[in-house]
């Protein structure tokens, strides 16, 4: 078959996307896709044209086990039965960490930071620079010296309010990239009473319990700017 004929290519792409291309013809076209940019473009265009139809399907709540199986397959977390994944997701929603791409650079800081902290190692110097903005409700975490996470782990940033209170998570930070953490009212209030921040090593994605479960690797004083 002549896969360089644009009409044939588009006809195959059309049937591939809609799903009526099957059997060996489908397998052959799937192989063509790996080598032909024109075929991939045709497929992408048909996907774009028809995608709204997929949104017309009635949403359906999947079984709970589906997410557990995904986590298990990806080796993300060894969870105890008692700790559901949904509290972790709720925590994730409260503390939305945005890895900074160009986005970070386009944000102009009109507001002066309320708090700053430098998380440093004794030997190799600063790892993270932290700036908390009360009005923007943001905590900017700049990784000034990379400190890659141990395989299968994440770094999590905590407030240590003192006075016997439990550490409160500020979110997962990266040992490689800059991260922007969103602060909610509660976190901002606790931040006002916090003198020390800590970074712990947690399972990939952060502590499953809401409290530090791994070793605290670094601490830093939180300074009022």
């Amino acid at each position: 078959m002549r896969y360089d004929d644009p009409n044939l290519l588009d006809a195959l792409a059309r049937e591939y996307v809609v799903g009526t291309l099957h059997g060996r013809a489908r397998d052959r076209f799937a192989r063509v896709l790996t080598s032909s940019l024109a075929a991939r473009r045709s497929v992408a265009e048909w996907e774009r044209r028809l995608a709204p139809l997929a949104r017309a399907a009635q949403p359906l709540e999947p079984p709970r086990a589906a997410w557990d199986n995904i986590e298990a397959a990806l080796g993300m977390r060894r969870r105890t039965r008692a700790v559901g994944v949904w509290p972790a997701i709720a925590a994730g929603l409260a503390v939305i960490a945005i890895v900074i791409g160009g986005l970070y650079l386009t944000r102009t800081a009109v507001e002066a930071p309320r708090f700053v902290a430098v998380v440093a190692e004794d030997e190799s110097g600063p790892v993270w620079l932290l700036q908390a903005f009360a009005e923007a409700r943001e905590l900017r975490v700049r990784t000034v010296n990379t400190r890659p996470e141990p395989v299968g782990s994440s770094y999590e940033l905590w407030m240590l309010p003192g006075g016997g209170a439990n550490p409160v998570s500020l979110g997962v930070i990266s040992g490689v990239n800059d991260v922007l953490l969103m602060l909610n009212d509660q976190q901002l209030a606790i931040l006002e009473q916090t003198a020390t921040l800590a970074v712990s090593v947690e399972p990939l994605g952060g502590s499953p319990t809401g409290l530090p479960t791994g070793p605290v690797i670094l601490t830093a004083p939180l300074l009022r700017a």
Binding site: A11, R14, E15, V17, V18, G19, T20, H22, A44, W46, E47, R48, R49, L50, A51, P52, L53, A54, R55, A56, A57, Q58, P59, L60, E61, P62, P63, A65, A66, W67, N69, I70, A73, L74, M76, R77, V85, A88, I89, G92, L93, I96, A97, I98, V99, G101, S154, V172, S174, V176, N177, L204, G205, G206
Partner: protein, 185 residues
């Protein structure tokens, strides 16, 4: 950018960087919609669940490739899900006894009346597709929608629409060609 709904593109980018929280958020934002798509094609909940798991495992592993494809994030996710469902349906055909094809379409046959895009008509692309679908003949519209949304093969379409194989093939082909022309206008 809205505050309430997480930005899917951003979540996929974070998955590419190994951020497991992002995958959770992506799952929370899209799993029900994708599961609806999968269930519609696979009919069996256990198969739809298997497909859904595969989708998110693949998304995690291939999130880095997302930018190259340059499609809208939901389109990308939908494509991964639909192709997975089509694969599973093919693979299981011999071991799974599917219901009579007519059962696939019980509630959905009259697409013009059911207005499959009503809930998404606010979206400009959906509105245009809806308008273009209306320009097709009823037979073409039903064939295209059943193939895409329910994953019916030509043979199953022939059974469901009680028409000869050659006729349903031409409905699909002409329907899609007309859609392409209409959307390009």
């Amino acid at each position: 950018m809205t505050e309430a709904a997480p930005n899917l593109e951003e979540l996929i980018a974070r998955c590419a960087l190994g951020d497991a929280n992002a995958l959770q958020l992506l799952y929370k934002s899209t799993a029900a919609q994708l599961f609806g798509v999968l269930q519609r094609i696979l009919l069996r909940e256990d198969l739809a669940q298997e497909a859904l798991q595969d989708v998110f495992i693949n998304v995690w592993r291939h999130a880095k490739d997302y930018r190259a494809t340059r499609g809208a994030p939901f389109t990308w996710l939908t494509s991964i899900a639909r192709y997975r469902a089509i694969d599973i349906k093919r693979r299981r055909r011999r071991e799974v006894h599917y219901a009579d094809p007519a059962e696939y379409v019980r509630d959905d046959l009259d697409f013009a009346a059911a207005d499959p895009l009503a809930s998404t008509a606010r979206d400009a692309d959906a509105k245009r597709l809806q308008d273009c679908l209306r320009e097709l003949s009823v037979e073409q519209r039903n064939a295209v929608c059943l193939a895409y949304m329910n994953g019916l093969t030509h043979e199953e379409l022939a059974g469901a629409l009680a028409a000869p194989l050659g006729t349903v093939k031409s409905w699909v082909r002409r329907g899609l060609t007309a859609l392409k022309g209409c959307l390009a206008r």
